[in-house]
């Protein structure tokens, strides 16, 4: 099937088989390997991307279902060499170790920042229900999320 979508701000059209998952489409067909696959039960969240601005598990969505949507992946966040405020916060707070869960964490964290009016540690921990990290014990991820949310707010306010 032919699908067209906006991917990281660019129009993309491609021929896909219906059973292709969005994660497979991104990784195998488009070579965007920043989106990771860490489980097969839709739990680990390494594959989280944004579809029309909300976070989704790309391993549990057909590529054909993304037709006509705007998809943002981890590769689409930074502006050139300038990191997205959430990426920057993960760097500052040492919110990543092996880096495998990181793309999903960052994508999920951005939606957290966008949808949570008053972010707290408790809310951040609850938000990460669908993102598993084995390295960090989450503490620095939580700090990154809160710092990133604050940065995003101040960036917005400044803009």
């Amino acid at each position: 099937m032919q699908i067209a979508l906006t991917l990281n701000g660019k129009e993309v059209s491609a021929e896909v088989r219906p059973s292709l998952l969005l994660s497979e489409f991104l990784r195998e067909q488009l070579g965007l390997t920043g989106t990771h696959v860490g489980c097969d039960t839709s739990q680990c969240g390494a594959c989280v991307v944004h579809v029309d601005g909300v976070s989704m598990k790309s391993c549990t969505m057909l590529a054909v279902s993304a037709a006509g949507t705007a998809v943002t992946t981890i590769e689409g966040l930074a502006q050139g060499d300038v990191l997205h405020p959430m990426q920057q916060a993960f760097h500052e707070c040492h919110g990543l170790q092996c880096g495998f869960c990181t793309p999903g964490m960052v994508m999920s964290a951005i939606e957290f920042a966008e949808t949570t009016p008053e972010p707290t540690e408790e809310k951040a921990r609850a938000w990460l229900e669908g993102n598993i990290c084995r390295c960090t014990g989450y503490q620095n991820i939580i700090d990154s999320m809160l710092a990133g949310a604050a940065k995003m707010k101040s960036t917005q306010a400044g803009a």
Partner: protein, 269 residues
């Protein structure tokens, strides 16, 4: 995942036609249950009929005495709906506790209810509130809808279009999640409805069921203490590596009392 023929019908009629016409077709709404099952090759449908984009299947309408929720409405929409929060806060809370943010952004009410997963949350609300499941051809009472493990009163080619929840006087849902999957190990929905007291249990049995002894006890006196000594029999309840049947039976009592307390304290209205 095994290949299939993908359809994106533009009308409900077309969808039911496709469903009836194909060898082994499955409806795809959010896909939160279907796609993982297909990935593990536990389901290998010949055809997938994607109804997520069908107009008229999504949305929330609040009337004087009910909340109507389109079958393709996402959990996140129910959870964040100010209208639902105002009239049936327990339902919004339940939706906000399903899975994780990404599941809630994609999973749909109809999909969850039609699947009758023994550990899903929505069946507790449907049964607890005495909702009506509206399909492309009829309306089904909650009490006759859930018939067994992954089994419902739906016919093979029948499609849920919306679910109508009567607005209760008060209701609460308390979930005890499985530590690993975070599905409900036990979830109890307690509602004071116009038709009387209803207590619905999910997670504990093959499908959602009403705890009638609890209802009787609460009808006499609506307080957590009224439930002291009232139990569901452990016989026939689910047992797995996370919870044996006796523990599940015990949890039904605990969560029910907590739901009652929440209502009694005016917590979830």
């Amino acid at each position: 995942m095994k290949d299939f023929v993908y359809h994106r019908p533009s009308s409900l009629d077309e969808a039911t036609g496709l469903l009836a016409g194909a060898e082994d077709a499955k409806l795809l709404a959010g896909g939160m249950t279907l796609l993982p099952t297909m990935k593990q090759r536990l389901a290998m449908p010949s055809d997938i009929i994607d109804i997520s984009g069908l107009s008229g299947l999504s949305g929330i309408t609040v009337t004087a005495d009910s909340v109507e929720i389109g079958a393709a409405t996402k959990h996140a929409a129910v959870a964040s709906s100010a209208e639902v929060q105002a009239v049936i806060p327990a339902l919004a809370k339940l939706a906000g506790g399903i899975g994780d943010p990404q599941v809630r952004n994609r999973g749909t009410m109809g999909g969850s209810v039609a699947n009758s997963d023994p550990a899903a949350d929505y069946p507790a609300a449907v049964l607890g509130l005495g909702a009506t499941i509206v399909t492309d051809r009829r309306s089904i009472d909650a009490d006759s809808f859930f018939t067994g493990l992954f089994e419902t009163a739906l016919e093979e080619d029948e499609i849920i279009t919306k679910i109508v929840f009567p607005i209760p006087e008060a209701a609460a849902y308390v979930k005890f999640p499985s530590p690993a999957s975070r599905y409900a190990l036990v979830g109890v929905f307690v509602a004071k409805t116009k038709g009387g007291l209803r207590v619905a249990v999910t997670g504990a049995g093959p499908c959602a069921f009403r705890a009638t002894d609890f209802e009787t006890a609460l009808a006499k006196e609506f307080s957590p203490t009224a439930l002291a000594g009232v139990t569901v029999p452990a016989d026939g309840l689910n047992a797995d590596i996370h919870a044996d049947a006796e523990y599940r039976a015990h949890l039904v009592g605990v969560t029910a009392r907590r739901a009652v307390a929440e209502i009694a304290n005016g917590g979830a209205a």
